[in-house]
């Protein structure tokens, strides 16, 4: 009999793990999945395009129920299948409808919960988060009925929600605690560009604003009578400076928190999230966790790329290849709003001993900034033209010495490759005294540089490569 592997959470991290497992070792485990949304598995990142009407529900599905069946995976999906308890001593999980399932390996991929401001009025009808398909459905319904929306939080999710609602015809104001949107990803100049571009698309901004209360409306009927008929509907927001803003719909998008409740209740060690090792193992060796619910080396996660990396490492481990370890790297940010291209990674502010290379093509709406320290790229912001994002991401990961091609760094991978190809033979050329000097300098610096943390992971490899390994 095959060992039983149980997965709690059918989101992107969990589903990716399944894909990796069935590709690497399809017959190793007897797999059962519990998910509290009534679907196969869909691309949560695509909720914004779904909201904006750029994509249909079909288009954002990754694996439907048939996929699970054809791979011999038992899928328990729907609110009634939400896991309510992990019993570690009996190695069982229990769902809301009383389903009980024994495990040899348990994977927790419960994701995250939106963070709601602790202010009055947070439970009014029409105040919601932007997390899953049902949120999108409710937002679309609201947009058909109401005129005015406020999105609290100008992070990635908030801006995507705001643009989605704007596309749906609502008057949308984004309320934010900083003076630029995406201040965790952009510097002042890029932030201003983004704000301007979003303004041109019809968004309004209320910046440097702290929301103190959400007040009910006396006019509106309920948004969704059959679910929330007893409650009052939202009417306006109040701010710390005394100003007010009308709102028929309030989207709270000020951040997420790891969903660690189940693990905590099962007394698995948690801090900000479920604490895992480099193998994604929790303090209970039979239990693993991945995705937005975890805390790895002090860090938590909110973007898809590290989740996929985690899925690959965990699959590698579960399939007993045992060579991969998860190593957290700076993750690039992109905004999923049609017509807006931005990319941000690493230390994009600079400071200290760092140097900043800046490229501007204002009329083309392009602003690019690269941060260099010790001849290494440590951060980048690309606004308007993000084509070279992956290149910079790789340079950040590899900590390659960029001095020999620094002049060309801004102009992308292909040119840098061209320069690198001509660089070695040129070194002996009499006309390249400068470059020879540059090398000398680099060598000295390299000696002084802190050693790069060793990495054994092989995350960019495809699953088939793992098989061969």
């Amino acid at each position: 009999m095959k060992p039983r592997l149980v997965l709690i959470g059918n989101g992107m991290a969990g589903a990716k793990l399944l894909e990796e497992l069935v590709a690497t070792a399809p017959d190793l485990f007897d797999i059962t999945v519990f998910g509290n949304e009534p679907y196969g598995n869909y691309n949560r990142i695509m909720l914004s395009p779904l909201l904006a009407g750029d994509k249909s529900l079909d288009e954002i599905m990754i694996n439907d129920r048939d996929w699970y069946q054809s791979h011999g995976i038992t899928l328990n999906a729907g609110p009634e299948k939400a896991i309510t308890q992990i019993n570690r001593s009996s190695r069982q999980v229990h769902s809301a409808d009383g389903t009980c399932c024994r495990y040899d390996r348990l994977i927790i991929a419960t994701g995250s919960k939106p963070f709601m401001l602790p202010i009055p009025g947070i439970d009014l009808n029409g105040v919601m988060s932007f997390r899953d398909i049902s949120d999108v459905e409710n937002m679309i319904k609201a947009s058909e009925r109401y005129k005015t929306a406020v999105v609290i939080g100008a992070g990635l999710l908030g801006l995507e929600a705001a643009m989605g609602l704007r596309t749906r015809g609502m008057d949308v104001t984004v309320v934010h605690s900083n003076d630029i949107p995406l201040n965790r990803q952009l510097d002042q100049e890029a932030g201003e560009l983004l704000k301007q571009q979003l303004s041109e698309k019809g968004l309004r901004f209320k910046m440097n604003a702290r929301t103190t209360a959400i007040l009910p409306s006396e006019q509106h009927a309920d948004l969704n009578g059959d679910l929330q008929d007893k409650k009052q509907h939202v009417g306006k927001l109040q701010f710390s400076d005394g100003s007010e803003l009308q709102a028929d719909l309030v989207i709270m998008a000020i951040g997420i928190r790891p969903n660690k409740q189940l693990a905590e209740e099962a007394r698995i060690h948690c801090e900000k999230g479920i604490v895992v090792s480099d193998n994604l193992q929790t303090y209970d060796p039979r239990i693993y966790a991945l995705g937005e619910c975890i805390q790895h080396r002090g860090g938590t996660f909110g973007l898809v790329a590290p989740l996929y990396d985690q899925a690959k490492v965990l699959s590698n481990h579960l399939c007993e290849h045992g060579v991969a370890r998860y190593y957290s790297l700076p993750t690039a940010t992109k905004l999923k709003v049609t017509g807006i291209n931005l990319f941000s990674v690493g230390n994009f502010i600079g400071g200290g001993n760092s140097e900043t290379i800046i490229y501007r093509d204002k009329q083309a709406g392009i602003y690019k900034k690269l941060i260099i320290e010790d001849d290494r790229l440590i951060g980048a912001i690309l606004y308007g033209d993000t084509q070279e994002g992956p290149f910079y991401n790789e340079l950040l990961d590899s900590t390659e010495d960029i001095e020999p091609f620094r002049q060309y760094l801004m102009f992308g991978r292909a040119l840098c490759d061209e320069i690198k190809a001509t660089y070695e033979p040129k070194r002996s050329n009499k006309t390249n005294i400068y470059k020879a000097n540059a090398n000398l300098k680099t060598n000295v610096k390299t000696k002084a540089k802190r050693p790069v943390e060793p990495k054994t992971r092989n995350l960019q490899d495809s699953p088939s490569t793992h098989k061969v390994a």
């Binding site: 691309n43 083309a364 084509q387 102009f411 005294i433």
Partner: protein
């Protein structure tokens, strides 16, 4: 109007190539081809000649007369000049005025200028830039032959067994003749070619032997050759006996200076075996041609050098016969015509010298009693006389002495204080024209109509392709107009250049016989030429008279020189080192010369973008040993300083090819071309010593002691603009170069602007609606570009604190585009063409995978699923949002 074909001659060097010009009058365009039927070039043309069509634009032209910077009528300008000259003559005498002419003048222009100055003003203060290149040869010829006669012709190169090129980089300076020699050498590999030049130039490409002689040592070499010929008894005793005088004293002087090959080699800084090889080759045959040019002429002992070469040819009788002769090649299209007319201060007219009978003869011919009685001031003396106030009025025609003369800053200062400076030129702003009180707009090469004489005595017609532009007038017309205003209407009443030519021909035959004075130059066969025959004149070699009705290829095979006893004269040569020896302060010897694609002061070749590709900046070439002793790097900027002045240039440390360096240690080389119009400190003229040959007064432009020191640039810059932009003040080093639809400035300075990006932005002179692209790296790179509303590149500027700016070639090409595509725009500030392939519109944003890449992979790799695409290209494997698009692309394939 349909195109018309006109046969004319090239505007540049003394080879005198024939050109077939297909002219479109409406567009003012011309297609240039070599003229197959012209005996000088048989259809060949060099890069400069080929680009003539690009130099005829009107943008740089002077198109209306100016007095003190104001456009005026021709009458006003002519009156001003005539008044000024008349007053000076009246108050200070005829020697208070001067003309300074050019080897680019046509013979007809030259003739009337010489006639006015020497015949009617009554001074011989008329000299020409030919002084700077040809006067050693003129004097050498006169000393040896009695007249200024080139004995042979180009065909001699194609019949010789030994061809020696002395002081000539013919490969660059006379490319078409060089190509003829190369073709002959390739067909006849046994022919020996010897190049005698301190530098290993491109001409050495065809040489069997290169003698890298020390600067200025030629007289030792040819004295050594003469004594070797005597020692080995390889002399033509009959020829010497029957046709020459002075052999013994000449040989004695040669033997005294160079008793042995070893001494010769040591004096010349050459390998003894190499010298012996040359001597043996020369002695073994009398079918030997010695071509010489500025390396011989531009010397304080240039006349002697010419004679030391001629001595060897006389001694072996290798002269006047097919495949023989000393052969002077000239640098200008009509230096020879000027010499024929007598347009030099120390020649009277038409190959007549200053002597009472010649003066009388000329007075009778011209109908005047004012013919100048004695030689006038030669070029360097003439500008000295302007400087010290003896000359009050000067008219400079078709030349740029502020650039080309030695000690050129002094020339500039002299003109600045001269009461009346008149400049006639086709170009509006030359370094010299900027100092003029009166500017006359002259017709240019494509508009002028007359005759020129090439280095082989061949007279060809230069024909106008277009009517004069604007108010431009022919030089002969202006001179005649001034002459009329000075009261000489009758003598200058010409209506057409053919009338001048026919008078010139008549003078050449006037009392030209042993009864009067026998002269080599005689084209009296054409003295009654009609306008129609003149228009159809085919190229011929003079003399053309009763004796030689078809012209004459060679002279002197049987003696018959133009000395009183019809014998040639050997000249005893005592070699002298160059006038100014190097000193500890100025330890290097500066040599100067031309580069391949430019000509003189670049006022015309500099207009042709393709000619500015080869070498864009003034440079100084230096031996690697000297460079390392001075701790200098290749391509860094350096200052070259002499006792007289300084310049800035880029350092070229010469390459060593098979252990041979292209320049001798202790010597350096700079080009002559750059002007104050095209550079801030690129003129070599101010550096060159104003030393002249005591016989011919030609300056020693090929030897000046200098020091080279690093120019400590803290920044380097490039500025390319579609419209000419003002020169940035902060750039001490600055060179301008014309490109295709743009102007390039190469810049450097010694203090970094506090806001470099703002500073270079100000260089662009940007219009308000231009879009600006910028790049800055605090490590010291600042770049900015401007694109106009139509997407056209208008300007680009770069500044770097390192000497690592991109080659401007690709950037320049972008100005030819109507608009920049996105990839080019993105790559623009890198200074390099977009690298890699066009990947198309980005489909997978996470991994930047483009549509074209995906479609190609689907085709080539036969991909049939999103997974397959993901495995191949990673596309769609991160956020997955592009998967619907990938599916669509798969469906389309």
């Amino acid at each position: 109007m349909s195109d018309k074909t006109i046969h004319t001659t090239c505007a540049y060097c003394g080879v005198g190539c024939g050109i077939k010009a297909v002219v479109n009058d409406d567009l003012r365009e011309v297609a240039i081809k070599g003229l197959d039927s012209h005996p000088s070039n048989h259809g060949r043309l060099c890069s400069k000649g080929t680009a003539l069509g690009d130099t005829i634009g009107l943008s740089e032209r002077l198109l209306e007369p100016e007095v003190n910077g104001q456009a005026v009528s021709w009458d006003h300008a002519l009156d001003t000049v005539a008044d000024g000259f008349a007053k000076a003559i009246e108050q200070y005498g005829p020697d208070s005025v001067a003309f300074y002419l050019s080897g680019q003048f046509l013979t007809e222009d030259y003739y009337v200028a010489n006639k006015l100055m020497k015949g009617f003003i009554g001074s011989a203060n008329i000299d020409t830039n030919s002084r700077l290149c040809m006067s050693s040869t003129v004097s050498g010829h006169k000393r040896a032959f009695g007249t200024d006669t080139v004995p042979g012709c180009y065909e001699d190169f194609e019949q010789a067994e030994v061809i020696t090129l002395v002081g000539s980089n013919a490969a660059w300076c006379h490319p078409v003749l060089f190509q003829r020699i190369r073709a002959y050498k390739e067909a006849n590999p046994q022919v020996k070619i010897v190049v005698i030049d301190p530098r290993r130039t491109q001409t050495c490409d065809i040489a069997d032997l290169h003698l890298p002689i020390a600067l200025g040592a030629d007289n030792w070499l040819f004295n050594g050759l003469l004594s070797h010929l005597a020692q080995t008894d390889q002399l033509d005793h009959d020829y010497i006996e029957q046709h020459c005088d002075g052999f013994e004293s000449s040989l004695a002087a040669a033997q005294a200076a160079c008793p042995s090959t070893a001494t010769t080699a040591q004096k010349c800084g050459l390998d003894q075996d190499d010298v012996a090889t040359f001597f043996n080759w020369f002695g073994q045959t009398n079918k030997t041609v010695t071509l010489f040019s500025q390396g011989v002429n531009q010397s304080s002992s240039g006349t002697d050098k010419v004679n030391s070469i001629i001595n060897c040819h006389l001694a072996t009788g290798s002269i006047g016969k097919p495949g023989t002769g000393p052969f002077s090649i000239t640098g200008q299209p009509n230096a020879m015509g000027g010499r024929e007319v007598g347009g030099l201060a120390n020649t009277l007219a038409s190959h007549m010298e200053f002597s009472p009978d010649n003066i009388d003869r000329l007075q009778r011919f011209w109908g005047t009693d004012k013919v100048a009685a004695q030689a006038g001031l030669t070029a360097v003396e003439l500008f000295n006389a302007i400087d010290d106030g003896r000359i009050k009025a000067v008219w400079i025609m078709a030349t740029n002495p502020v650039v080309s003369l030695p000690d050129a800053d002094k020339v500039k200062a002299a003109l600045q204080k001269c009461p009346l400076v008149v400049v006639s030129d086709c170009i509006a702003n030359t370094d010299t024209a900027r100092l003029a009180h009166v500017k006359f707009p002259a017709t240019g090469w494509s508009e002028k109509n007359g005759t020129v004489t090439s280095s082989e005595r061949r007279i060809s017609r230069q024909r106008n392709l277009f009517p004069p532009a604007g108010q431009a007038k022919h030089d002969w017309w202006m001179i005649c107009q001034v002459a009329k205003r000075l009261g000489h209407s009758e003598a200058f009443d010409y209506q057409h250049p053919s009338e001048i030519f026919s008078e010139h021909a008549r003078l050449s035959g006037f009392e030209n016989s042993s009864d009067g004075q026998l002269r080599d130059f005689d084209i009296s066969a054409l003295e009654n030429i009609s306008e129609q025959d003149y228009e159809q004149l085919v190229p011929f070699q003079w003399p053309m008279n009763k004796e030689y009705p078809q012209g004459c290829q060679r002279l002197f095979a049987n003696g018959d020189f133009f000395t009183p006893n019809r014998k040639a004269r050997f000249v005893a040569i005592t070699p002298r080192a160059p006038a100014n020896a190097p000193t500890p302060q100025y330890p290097l010897r500066l040599n100067t010369g031309r580069i391949r694609d430019q000509w003189h002061t670049m006022t015309r070749t500099g207009l042709a973008p393709q000619l500015n590709q080869h070498i864009k900046e003034p440079f100084i070439e230096l031996h690697p040993d000297d460079a390392s002793a001075l701790h200098l790097r290749d391509q860094q900027l350096v200052s070259i300083t002499s006792r007289w002045g300084s310049m800035l240039a880029r350092l070229n440390i010469c390459e060593s090819i098979n252990g041979v360096n292209s320049i001798r240690s202790g010597e350096c080389f700079a080009p002559i071309h750059w002007t104050g119009e095209l550079s801030r400190h690129g003129r070599v003229g101010p550096v060159v010593n104003p030393v002249v040959d005591p016989i011919c007064f030609q300056p020693e432009s090929k030897h000046t002691p200098v020091q080279i020191s690093p120019y400590q640039a803290v920044w380097h810059g490039l500025l390319l603009t579609r419209q000419k932009a003002p020169w940035p003040d902060e750039s001490e080093y600055l060179v301008e170069s014309n490109g295709q639809q743009h102007t390039l400035l190469t810049l450097a300075g010694q203090s970094l602007p506090s806001e470099p990006l703002e500073q270079i932005t100000s260089w662009l002179n940007a219009a308000e609606d231009w879009e600006l692209l910028s790049y800055q790296d605090p490590q010291g790179h600042y770049r900015i570009a401007a694109i106009d509303a139509d997407g056209k590149l208008q300007a680009i500027a770069m500044l770097s604190t390192r000497q690592d700016l991109p080659e401007p070639g690709w950037l320049g090409q972008q100005f030819s585009k109507d608009s920049l595509d996105l990839r080019t725009r993105t790559a623009l500030l890198s200074g390099r063409a977009p690298a890699g392939e066009d990947i198309g519109r980005i489909v997978c944003a996470c991994y930047s995978v483009g549509e074209k890449t995906i479609c190609k992979a689907i085709q080539d790799e036969k991909l049939n699923s999103c997974d397959a695409i993901g495995r191949q290209l990673k596309a769609g494997t991160n956020c997955g949002s592009c998967i619907p698009e990938l599916k669509a692309l798969l469906a389309k394939a």
